[in-house]
C-alpha cells in the first residue's frame, strides 16, 4: 500500500541519519553512567537509577522528536524531493500521515532500545525489575507522540528552526499547564479567568503523561488515569494530523 511505502521510506531515511545514532549512543552512555552514582547514593541506588533512567528516556525521546521531526516535512519541501511523490497518484493526506507514522516508527524503535538497556542496567545494579516502569515509559512515549505530531504540524508551514522552536515552547508550556490552571483559578477578573482557562484546555497538558514520581516512590497509577490519558493523546494527535493535512492540501508546492 502507498501509505506503507511512505512510512517505510521515512523510517529508512531517519535511521540512516547520523544524528539518530549520536543521540542513541549518548543516551545509552548516560543510562550506564547512572551506575557510577551508586556508591554515592548511600542506599538509595534504586531511586537514583530509576530517576535518572526515566528522566533520561523522557528527555532524549523528546529531544529526538523535536530535532528530527522538525526537519522532516520542511526538508522535503526545501529540497524538492516532495515533487517526486506528489506528482504521482498519492493523496496529500497520505503523505502527511505516512511521514508521521514513519517518524513514530523510528522513535518507537529508539525508545525500545533505551528501555531494554535501562532494564538491564537496573537489574544488574539493583536486582529490581518493576513492571511499573513500563507504565511510566509508555506515558512518556505518548508525550513523544504528541510532540512529533506538533513537529509535523509546524513543519508544514515554517522552517526547521522555527518549527523546533515553537514545538519546544509548546513543550515547556504544556508541562506547566497545571500552573496555568492554578493561576486561572486564583484570578478574580472574569475575562482573565476565562482566557486562562481557555489556554489551559487548548494547550497540550503534558503533565498528564508524567507519572515518574509516582513510579519511583512505588505508588500505584490508577487505571482510569492511564485510559483517559491514552484517549487524550489519541484525540489531540488526530487534531494535529487533520490540521496538518488540511494545511498541506492547500499548499502551493
Amino acid at each position: 500500500m502507498k501509505l506503507r511505502t511512505i512510512i517505510l521510506n521515512t523510517f529508512k531515511e531517519a535511521v540512516r541519519k547520523k544524528l539518530l545514532l549520536i543521540v542513541i549512543g549518548f543516551s545509552l552512555l548516560l543510562l550506564a553512567a547512572s551506575g557510577v552514582l551508586v556508591p554515592l547514593s548511600l542506599g538509595e541506588e534504586s531511586k537514583i537509577i530509576m530517576d535518572f533512567g526515566l528522566g533520561s528516556i523522557s528527555i532524549f525521546g523528546i529531544l529526538l522528536a523535536i530535532l528530527i521531526g522538525s526537519q522532516s516535512v520542511f526538508n522535503e519541501l526545501e529540497r524538492k524531493t516532495i515533487y517526486f511523490i506528489i506528482s504521482k497518484p498519492v493523496r496529500r493526506e497520505t503523505f502527511i500521515i505516512g511521514k508521521f507514522l514513519g517518524l513514530l516508527l523510528t522513535f518507537t524503535t529508539v525508545i525500545f532500545i533505551l528501555v531494554v538497556w535501562f532494564y538491564v542496567i537496573l537489574f544488574v545494579l539493583t536486582g529490581l525489575h518493576p513492571a511499573s516502569i513500563l507504565i511510566s515509559v509508555f506515558l512518556s512515549y505518548l508525550e513523544i507522540v504528541i510532540i512529533t505530531a506538533f513537529c509535523i504540524f509546524f513543519s508544514t508551514f515554517t522552517s526547521p528552526i522555527f518549527s523546533s522552536l515553537f514545538t519546544f515552547l509548546l513543550f515547556v508550556v504544556g508541562r506547566l499547564a497545571p500552573d496555568i490552571q492554578l493561576l486561572a483559578s486564583k484570578t478574580a477578573n472574569p475575562f482573565a479567568h476565562f482566557s486562562l482557562q481557555l489556554v489551559y484546555y487548548v494547550i497540550p497538558n503534558l503533565s498528564n503523561f508524567n507519572v515518574r514520581g509516582m513510579v519511583v516512590h512505588s505508588e500505584l497509577v490508577s487505571h482510569n488515569h492511564i485510559l483517559f490519558t491514552i484517549a487524550y493523546a489519541f484525540i489531540y494527535t488526530i487534531i494535529l494530523l487533520v490540521s496538518s493535512s488540511e494545511i498541506f492540501r492547500r499548499k502551493d508546492l
Partner: protein, 304 residues
C-alpha cells in the same frame, strides 16, 4: 481527447506589500496526441509555474486544465502521466534502483517482475551499471537520467518534463533527444520546457513561446520561422572599371569583395543591375531566420 488542454489559465502570487506578480497570464493552448511540444521562454517566464500546475503541484488562480481528459489533480490523470521537475533531487539515502522501486509502489504497480522492469528502465536511460549506487553519489547527468526513468516507471501516455536537458554534456543531450524521439515512436506525447533554443530544433513538432506569463506564439516551428520575409545575401565583385558599385547599401568585406542584403522582391532588380554593370556575382545565399532571431524579436515585441 487531447492529452493537455489549458483554458484561460492564470496564476497570481499575492503579496502583502507591493504589487502581486502574475506568473501565468491568461494562457490558452493545447497539446495534440503523439506530438513533441517544446515550451520556450527566457528564465523567469513562468514555464516551471505552468508545468507545476499541470502536474498538480500548484493551484491555479483561475482557468481550467484538463490532463488526458480528466480535470487537474485527479488520480487517473496522474496514473498515466510522468513528471520531471527542473533540477530534480531525489532521496539521497536511496539507491537508483530503490528509488524506482519506491516510484513503482506509489503507482500501485504489481510486485511481479518488478526487478526486471526496473533494470530494463535503468538500462534504457543509461544507468544500467549504476542502479545500486546511492543517489548521494550520483553526478548531475546521472540524476537527470534517473529523473527520466522515474517519469517512465508507469509507462505513461503523457510526459511533462521541466528543463530535461539541463546540466547534460553534449553527448548526454544527444542521448536524451534520442530517448524523447523514441518515446514519440512508442506513441507517447511529450511536453517539455526549456530556455535553450537548440534543444527544440530537430525534435519538436510544435513550439510555444512564453514570456512574462503570456503565451506569445504557438505553432509548427518551420511555419513560424517562415513568416519573416526572407533576406538574401549577395556577394559580388564590381567590374574592373568601376571601383565602387552603384548600389548604395553594398558593403566592402574584409576579404575584398562586396556584399549586399536584399529582400526577396528586390533580388531580380539588383541582379539585373549588377550584371548590367558587368559585376562578377560570387554567391547568392538566402538567409535562414534563426530560431534565436525569431525568439528574440518576439520577446522584444512583447516588451514594448
Amino acid at each position: 481527447m487531447r492529452p493537455i488542454k489549458i483554458e484561460k489559465l492564470t496564476k497570481i502570487y499575492p503579496k502583502f506589500f507591493g504589487n502581486s506578480t502574475k506568473a501565468i497570464d491568461n494562457v490558452t493552448m493545447s497539446v495534440e496526441q503523439g506530438e513533441i511540444f517544446g515550451f520556450l521562454g527566457p528564465n523567469g517566464a513562468g514555464k516551471t509555474t505552468l508545468l507545476k500546475m499541470l502536474a498538480g503541484l500548484l493551484y491555479p488562480t483561475s482557468g481550467q486544465i484538463w490532463i488526458l481528459g480528466q480535470t487537474m489533480h485527479s488520480f487517473s490523470a496522474k496514473q498515466s502521466m510522468g513528471f520531471l521537475s527542473e533540477n530534480p533531487s531525489f532521496y539521497n539515502h536511496l539507491s537508483g534502483f530503490e528509488l524506482l522501486d519506491f516510484a513503482s509502489a506509489l503507482f500501485g504497480m504489481p510486485a511481479e517482475k518488478k526487478t526486471k522492469r526496473i533494470n530494463a528502465l535503468l538500462q534504457k536511460v543509461g544507468l544500467g551499471e549504476s542502479g545500486n549506487i546511492r543517489i548521494s553519489d550520483y553526478s548531475k547527468g546521472m540524476i537527470q537520467r534517473l529523473g527520466i526513468a522515474q517519469a517512465l516507471v508507469n509507462n505513461p501516455e503523457l510526459l511533462i518534463l521541466d528543463e530535461p536537458l539541463s546540466g547534460l554534456d553534449p553527448i548526454g543531450r544527444k542521448e536524451f533527444k534520442e530517448i524523447i524521439l523514441s518515446l514519440k515512436e512508442e506513441g507517447k506525447t511529450v511536453f517539455f520546457s526549456t530556455h535553450i533554443l537548440a534543444d527544440v530544433e530537430r525534435i519538436c513538432d510544435r513550439v510555444g513561446i512564453l514570456h512574462k506569463g503570456k503565451l506569445l506564439r504557438i505553432g509548427e516551428l518551420n511555419i513560424l520561422l517562415s513568416e519573416r520575409q526572407r533576406s538574401i545575401s549577395l556577394s559580388f565583385k564590381p567590374s574592373e572599371h568601376r571601383k565602387t558599385p552603384s548600389l548604395p547599401d553594398a558593403k566592402l568585406t574584409a576579404e575584398g569583395y562586396w556584399n549586399i542584403t536584399v529582400n526577396g522582391e528586390k533580388l531580380q532588380k539588383v541582379v539585373a543591375s549588377l550584371l548590367k554593370d558587368g559585376a562578377h556575382i560570387i554567391s547568392i545565399i538566402p538567409e535562414t531566420v534563426s530560431l534565436e532571431d525569431f525568439f528574440v524579436s518576439e520577446i522584444e515585441k512583447n516588451e514594448t
